[in-house]
């Protein structure tokens, strides 16, 4: 019971929206039935897009790797059930844009047949190997950021690891998936935390849970006790966004993570409880991340938490909860940070912690945006101590440099500012807009710098090639001249052996440039001639077997080109003698 004595800290700002958690928390986690079709997007986590390892027609087993991680910062994707791959194609994604992303579409065969699983004892494995296993099992941060977990499991080399923070706060309204997970599978979660602890070797392990989830706190404390782990399970005051990584670290450890630093530099690392659970399943049971617990709540008859396969289409999933007739949309995530799902065809992914059915009564249409009155309510609510009203002003004016001066990139888009704004300004939308504009600009800048470098290198290479060619020609003609002179000298030598060598040298020096020039011209003329012959020979090749219409088209094009070519050809060839030669060589 040391949890109660533990001194807690506070973070500034935050709000207390209505939690609405009870509606979905009274029933145990249910197993969702197999859907008719699974759409598994390959890119589900931060980092490189996994490479597809299957093609249409392949038969896959449950847990089979279908997307191999692309580099270290990337995570694998697996088949959620056994069945046949229908296609590997672009499919609408669970993303606010509703754009397509490369997905593997699987038709389940109903047998739900597992690939042979190999339980491992991670204590016998090298830490490096454990991280690899986690990457290949597709373990990513299930709190919503989907950052590959293995990449967070290397302790900083310079700073000793002080605290490992396990995030069970679940501060967003409506969502109860972590709550139920901790209530029902606390021991597995604690075992997963044990894996993280052994990899990072922190001095303390703190499990933070908001105090509106007493059952989860009790279950976790019980599990910690029965497994004999020295973890501290701490109930933190319920205040949104207590579940933000930086906020929870602040509350539990009193450490404030500076903008430009990672928490590891302060000796702190943070994981979600569901991540710990999947890590344990991956190692101790050999089960990759192919399902997750999703809260289905809001305007539905039967709100509940479901263990659902990754890739289940939204349309099939919502039927489990029987949405009421006035449902007008589905939010993925919570009401504070979530976004509207673009389509019922979009699949559930690793980042999907909650689906909320919306209705006009549940989420009334937003009141019209009024002018900012600079009341400062947003600055009071901001958990990152930013000045949203200033960032808004400049984001609205598209003065992005100024928004960066006001540290827009420290914004975690938690939505507190929009929540408290008396003028109903969608502040977070402005910040997202400004951020993505700044990113696009930076990408453009990088691209143009790369283009410039390539252009300059190309120019350099052209110069060098030209110089080399000139040198080679000069050398060749000099050699030829020397040969000639030598022949002349021998001829002369027969007449006047005494002064022959001297005279040959001086005359050779004068004659060489003239000869070199002539030789170069001759070589170029020959090359052009050869190129022309070759081009003429090459041309008819792809005109075989053409239709009459195509032939006609070609004739027309030829006719159009002929006068143009006459104009440009001589100039081009005079300016760049190298080009003709290059063609011949190639």
């Amino acid at each position: 019971m040391n949890a109660i004595i533990q001194q807690l800290f506070k973070f500034k700002g935050g709000v207390k929206p209505q939690t609405n958690k009870t509606i979905s928390a009274h029933e145990p986690i249910a197993q969702a039935p197999l859907p008719a079709r699974l759409i598994v997007p390959l890119h589900q986590s931060i980092g490189g897009t996994p490479n597809p390892l299957v093609v249409a027609g392949d038969h896959v087993l449950k847990g089979q790797l279908i997307g191999g991680p692309d580099g270290w910062l990337s995570s694998a994707v697996h088949a959620p059930t056994s069945g046949t791959v229908l296609a590997v194609e672009d499919h609408i994604s669970a993303h606010p844009s509703g754009l397509m992303t490369l997905s593997v579409i699987i038709q389940p065969d109903g047998r739900d047949e597992w690939l042979p699983r190999t339980p491992l004892n991670y204590r016998e494995l090298a830490p490096e190997r454990v991280r690899e296993i986690l990457r290949d099992a597709g373990v990513v941060g299930l709190g919503g950021a989907v950052f590959p977990s293995h990449a967070k499991l290397s302790a900083s080399k310079t700073v000793p690891m002080e605290e490992l923070v396990i995030n069970g706060a679940e501060c967003e309204p409506f969502i109860t998936c972590d709550d139920l997970l901790m209530r029902e599978r606390a021991e597995d979660v604690v075992r997963g935390v044990g894996i993280f602890r052994d990899l990072l070797a922190p001095k303390r392990v703190l499990i933070g849970i908001e105090d509106n989830k007493p059952e989860a706190v009790a279950a976790m404390q019980q599990a910690v006790k029965s497994l004999g782990e020295p973890f501290e399970v701490i109930a933190v005051p319920t205040r949104y966004p207590a579940g933000g990584a930086k906020q929870l670290i602040r509350v539990l450890t009193g450490k404030e993570v500076p903008a430009a630093k990672r928490s590891t530099e302060l000796g702190v690392q943070c994981f979600n409880v569901a991540t710990a659970y999947t890590a344990y399943r991956a190692i101790a049971h050999g089960e990759p991340v192919i399902s997750r617990i999703v809260t289905l709540t809001g305007n539905v008859e039967h709100p509940c938490n479901w263990e659902v396969l990754i890739g289940t289409p939204l349309g099939e999933f919502i039927q489990l909860g029987q949405p009421k007739s006035d449902t007008n949309g589905y939010l993925m995530g919570g009401p504070m940070m979530g976004f509207e799902m673009p389509s019922l065809d979009a699949p559930l992914v690793k980042a999907t912690n909650c689906i909320i059915a919306g209705s006009p009564t549940l989420f009334p249409p937003k009141a019209p945006e009024m002018p900012c009155i600079r009341c400062g309510a947003c600055a009071d609510a901001c958990p990152h101590e930013l000045q949203p009203f200033e960032m808004y002003w400049f984001a609205r004016a598209k003065n992005f440099g100024k928004t960066q001066e006001y540290k827009i990139f420290d914004c975690i888009e938690c939505g507190c500012c929009s929540f408290v704004c008396p003028s109903h300004i969608p502040l977070v939308q402005y910040f997202r807009f400004a951020k993505s504009e700044i990113w696009a600009r930076e990408a453009d800048k990088k691209a143009s710098e790369a283009a410039k470098a390539r252009f300059e290198f190309r120019n350099l290479r052209d110069e060098r090639e030209k110089a080399e060619k000139a040198e080679r020609l000069a050398k060749a003609s000099a050699a030829k001249a020397a040969e000639k002179k030598a022949a002349a000298a021998t001829a002369e030598a027969s007449i006047e052996p005494a002064t022959g060598s001297d005279g040959a040298d001086t005359s050779g020096a004068i004659a060489a440039p003239v000869d070199a020039d002539a030789a170069k011209k001759a070589a170029i003329a020959a090359a052009i001639e050869r190129a022309r012959v070759q081009r003429a020979a090459a041309e008819p090749k792809n005109t075989d077997g053409l239709t009459i219409a195509q032939r006609k088209e070609i004739a027309e094009i030829e006719a159009r080109r002929a006068p143009l070519q006459e104009q440009t050809d001589p100039n081009a060839e005079r300016a760049k003698p190298g080009t003709a030669l290059k063609e011949v060589k190639g």
């Binding site: 002018p371 002003w393 400049f394 609205r396 004016a397 003065n399 100024k402």
Partner: protein
């Protein structure tokens, strides 16, 4: 001592070159779109104006007055200022490329800044001595920089405001300048307290 203080306060606030004397309006309108550039322009003008007042005092006192050539003041001052600006620019460009990057394009603009010519002429009509002239010059320059920076700050914010289309740009800037000028009238009499 208070006399000198009053000269400075008078130059910075009460008789501000831009808002009260209405001098140097072209850079005030032209270079006040961004805060950084306003800082650069302010710094450059402060330097040139201080040097120019000193140089004009010397020219007037030791060259024009002894030979009775007071009527050539304007002409000789302009030539001197232009030369000083050119010289300053070249020296800065060579010695401190960083500073030149900051002030770079504003330096030549100062040549045409009427405040730089106006302040030396006011010095003479006020019959200031050398020290007083320098203080008045520096004070005016600081006053110029102050309102330029203030004005740039306001204009940066106005960029994001819902200004009616017909008022956008220079029009709203003029209105703002007028309001600032009114505000600066509040300082009047501050330098008369004895």
């Amino acid at each position: 001592m208070t006399h000198y203080l009053f000269i400075i306060i008078g130059a910075v606030l009460v008789n501000n070159v831009v808002l009260v004397k209405i001098l140097g309006l072209c850079p005030f309108m032209g270079v006040s779109k961004k805060l950084e550039t306003a800082f650069g322009m302010g710094a450059a003008t402060t330097f040139v104006l201080t040097v120019a007042t000193g140089a004009s005092y010397v020219i007037d006192h030791y060259l024009l007055v002894p030979f009775g050539l007071e009527y050539l003041r304007t002409l000789s001052f302009i030539v001197t200022i232009a030369a000083i600006v050119q010289l300053t620019e070249m020296v800065i460009q060579k010695t401190s490329p960083m500073l030149h990057q900051v002030l770079g394009i504003y330096l030549p603009l100062i040549t045409t800044n009427c405040a730089v010519l106006g302040v030396p002429l006011l010095n003479i009509s006020n019959k200031y001595n050398f020290i007083e002239s320098l203080l008045f010059g520096a004070g005016s320059a600081v006053g110029f920089s102050l309102v330029l920076v203030l004005f740039a700050g306001i204009r940066e914010r106005i960029e994001g405001a819902d200004v009616p289309v017909y008022f956008k740009g220079t029009a709203i800037a003029m209105v703002t300048a007028g309001l600032m000028s009114l505000a600066f009238m509040g300082f009047s009499g501050l330098d008369k307290y004895q």
